[in-house]
Symmetry: C2
Subunit: 231 residues, 2 copies
């Protein structure tokens, strides 16, 4: 429906090829010529189905979004949010090269708003006030996507210890020094992701039902806001 005469399936076929190349050899290898070759055709034969390379990449983002499985709305809201989060993480692990693109384009395509709506629903059921739902959705999706992308594209990766020591020769890092022992342990990203989901859930409960453990500065009637260290 997006473009192309005759078969609209042809676009999907092209996107399949592009995704496979991205998974196997990285985003840099996704070339009009390479995709075309994989489909068994010349580069220019793609253009009826794909307006430009940018459009091809947008299509790839769409593919990732449709891969995201949405939870049954009958389930409790915390389960639904966790399912969406886990699904995003798995998608990131399957397609680490493409995932970062999700972070750069407006989340306004049908495939994207479908996910946003599912999160809105969960937040409404959690009791988040109507006027806060949109911002909390941005908080949730930013954290979940950010975590999934960071993990799968290597931001969390530790440097080679030897190289690391050489690199940081003269730098003074008091907290690193103090935490040295703890920083050696290689964490389980899966467990850490689950813990982040726990934190997120608690945060949402707090927004839905404020005036509980630790209130915001905004509704802090005691007048001892955190930023004001009474002398």
């Amino acid at each position: 429906m997006r473009a192309g005469p005759a078969e609209p399936d042809r676009r999907q076929l092209i996107l399949d090829a592009a995704l496979a190349i991205a998974d196997e050899r990285g985003l840099g290898a996704v070339t009009m010529r390479a995709v075309a070759a994989r489909v068994g055709v010349t580069a220019m034969a793609l253009y009826p189905y794909v307006r430009s390379k940018e459009d091809l990449l947008d299509g790839l983002v769409g593919r990732l979004l449709t891969e995201l499985s949405l939870p049954d709305p009958a389930k409790p809201w915390p389960d639904r949010l966790r399912e969406i989060g886990r699904s995003a993480r798995q998608t990131a692990r399957r397609h680490p090269a493409v995932m970062p693109l999700l972070f750069a384009r407006p989340a306004v395509t049908p495939d994207a708003v479908r996910v946003v709506d599912a999160i809105y629903l969960a937040l409404l059921d959690a009791g988040v006030p109507d006027e806060e739902v949109a911002r909390v959705e941005r908080l949730v999706s930013t954290l979940v996507l950010g975590y999934a992308i960071s993990e799968s594209s290597g931001r969390f990766a530790a440097g080679d210890p030897r190289e690391q020591r050489a690199l940081l020769g003269g730098v003074d890092l008091p907290a690193h020094r103090r935490l040295a022992a703890k920083l050696e342990a290689a964490p389980s990203w899966e467990a850490e992701f689950e813990t982040a989901l726990d934190d997120l859930e608690r945060l949402i409960e707090n927004i839905a039902d404020p005036g509980r453990p630790g209130a915001t500065a905004a509704d802090d009637t005691t007048g001892c806001a955190a930023r004001d260290p009474r002398g």
Copy 2:
């Protein structure tokens, strides 16, 4: 020190030029030839100072990280965290094209660990247990960076309303329907960022001092306990 004979300043000069081009015309315009032209030299004259284009982009990331101003460690930890967050957001607004690169490379360069250490320090002062500091730092940096990048590279941007309606013709979006009125308002990203920092602060307090359900006003009459490390 990284490379290049004679003057090491020459590398900085090259990175200045590259950053200026990225700011003015986007990352796609950052070309060895374009950077060289701006420096007043041929493309191949860059190679003694910049191992490859990848190295050039790494250098750009380094520039962004050194632009991040680190807070005075004597200040209260919530202030320090907020300052780092705001500084990251401002950097993102100055250099939206380069910012996404921060999310794709391991945070192990000297420029990066310098920031990580500042966050570690703040978290330690907040009372986060030693074995949790690293994961909470990943939580904080992911959310702050994710927010800054999402805002500045347009992920949060709303679609053109007319086009939007056409695009979403047949899709059923129950939550969007219910929230229609609230979703029209264009939010202030600055205010939303500050609110996210509030949420983050509360989350950290909760991690530092957990297991106190309904203990708000009960055993903490000042409401300030978690925020006051001297307590």
